[in-house]
């Protein structure tokens, strides 16, 4: 993690105690961040960090595999503690908004789903898993994959880890799912699509 911060010349980092570090960027308030190696940050984990480091501004799950359940996200946001990946932390420090920052990978998509006209209700089950209810009453479970080009394996892993979904949304604006990924989705019983296709689907579903 400190190696990662080394690449960011505009941030200075110092170790405070345990998993707590202090980050500073020019003209921005200092940030107390907890750097967690956990693969999953559930409520118990988050609460214990808060007990240990009551002044933390940001909770960072630095592993690429780190998963955040929806209820953890909710209590962190209510407590005005930022959360997310190492990349989220570095840009939040530079922008001076660590307390309100949320996982960069999913941030725009969370807003997009909540603001979409045909969506009535949004439940965030995990950072990347949503259950949405449309105005027509249709309920959809959506899983997001951030990979550049999701593979069949990425689609199957999502199902293994989070259970069945109706739609796998490839949220990388540069990428497209491979034909194999689309086929794997069809075998499992879900669509593997991009935002444009989802939008059309939400209009009629």
């Amino acid at each position: 993690m400190l190696a990662l911060l080394d690449k960011e010349p505009n941030i200075s980092a110092q170790h405070v105690e345990g998993e707590l570090i202090r980050l500073e960027a020019e003209n921005q308030p200092g940030v107390l961040a907890v750097i967690s190696a956990a693969h999953k940050i559930d409520i118990a984990t988050a609460v214990s960090y808060r007990g240990k480091y009551p002044k933390m501004d940001f909770l960072c799950g630095y592993r690429k595999s780190c998963i955040w359940p929806g209820d953890t996200i909710e209590i962190l946001q209510e407590a005005r503690i930022g959360w997310g990946s190492a990349a989220t932390l570095t840009s939040a420090v530079l922008e001076g908004k660590a307390n309100i920052a949320s996982h960069k990978t999913y941030f725009f998509w969370d807003r997009l789903l909540r603001q979409y006209w045909s969506v009535q209700k949004v439940i965030r089950e995990y950072d990347r898993i949503y259950q949405i209810t449309l105005k027509t009453g249709t309920v959809l479970r959506i899983g997001m994959i951030a990979d550049y080009e999701p593979t069949a394996d990425a689609v199957r892993s999502l199902w293994d880890e989070f259970g069945s979904v109706d739609i796998v949304l490839n949220i990388n604006p540069n990428g497209n799912p491979s034909a194999e990924a689309v086929n794997a989705g069809a075998e499992l019983g879900c669509k593997v699509i991009k935002w444009e296709e989802l939008k059309n689907y939400l209009k009629t579903a």
């Binding site: 960069k104 990978t105 999913y106 941030f107 725009f108 998509w109 997009l112 951030a146 990979d147 550049y148 080009e149 593979t151 949220i171 990388n172 604006p173 540069n174 990428g175 497209n176 799912p177 491979s178 034909a179 194999e180 990924a181 935002w195």
Partner: protein
């Protein structure tokens, strides 16, 4: 040729790869993803050597009646100017001339780009270093997962920028790197030859992805390419 049916993606890809992103007329060799268009659009036209229609240019060069005009062997990639030229004056541009252009295209392009065999690894390295550095700089900024300017933002301009730069800068640079290494394979070690083969596969996948919109086939840039001829 407005009446042509769709040409298969594999044929397109093969044509584009062999043309290395340049018009195959040796007197032209213009880039087909011009920098002035920002890489957003290409100007490449797939021209038929012998035509579909009864009255098309070079009709009399047709080998036999069962000949399929849409096969790779009967297509050549040209800029619009050259396409017009060869179709308006078929007498000056018969089948054998066009096939000859295609056959010698890579050699013609290498000559125009000043690519040749060098006396030692050090000079060969210098010849590719600038193109590799430019590609890497673009990658660091725009890379589709970890670039400093990249965000998972569906409305992001960066995503479009990446694709354009891929076609107007990265791919042409890669073709040029390929041509330089090919001309200097004699200087490469056994390992480097293997890495070069991987690199060629990587470039083929990039073209498939960014020119023909076929995803998921590209292999990653082989890291060891960074040390080629070092």
């Amino acid at each position: 040729m407005t009446q042509r049916k769709a040409i298969p993606a594999e044929t397109k890809l093969r044509l584009f790869s062999e043309a290395s992103g340049h018009c195959q007329n040796p007197d032209c060799l213009e880039p087909l993803f011009p920098v002035e268009l920002g890489g957003a659009k290409h100007i490449a036209e797939m021209a038929h050597v012998v035509p579909h229609g009864e009255a098309g240019p070079r009709r009399e060069d047709r080998p036999n009646d069962s000949f399929d005009p849409d096969v790779f062997e009967n297509l050549i990639l040209l800029c619009p100017t050259c396409h017009t030229k060869i179709d308006k004056d078929p007498a000056s541009f018969p089948r054998n001339i066009l096939l000859d252009w295609k056959e010698n295209h890579l050699a013609n392009l290498a000559t125009k780009q000043g690519i040749r065999a060098y006396v030692n690894r050090c000079i060969a390295r210098e010849a590719i270093a600038g193109f590799m550095a430019e590609n890497k700089a673009i990658w660091n900024r725009f890379a589709p997962e970890h670039g400093t300017d990249f965000n998972y933002d569906p409305e992001s301009e960066v995503a479009k920028g990446w694709s354009k730069r891929m076609r107007s800068v990265i791919l042409p640079n890669n073709y040029r790197i390929q041509a330089i290494i090919r001309a200097n394979l004699g200087l490469a070690t056994e390992d480097e030859r293997r890495i070069f083969a991987e690199f060629q596969e990587h470039v083929r996948g990039l073209a498939e992805r960014h020119v023909c919109n076929v995803s998921g086939r590209a292999i990653r840039f082989p890291k060891a390419m960074e040390d080629m001829f070092l």
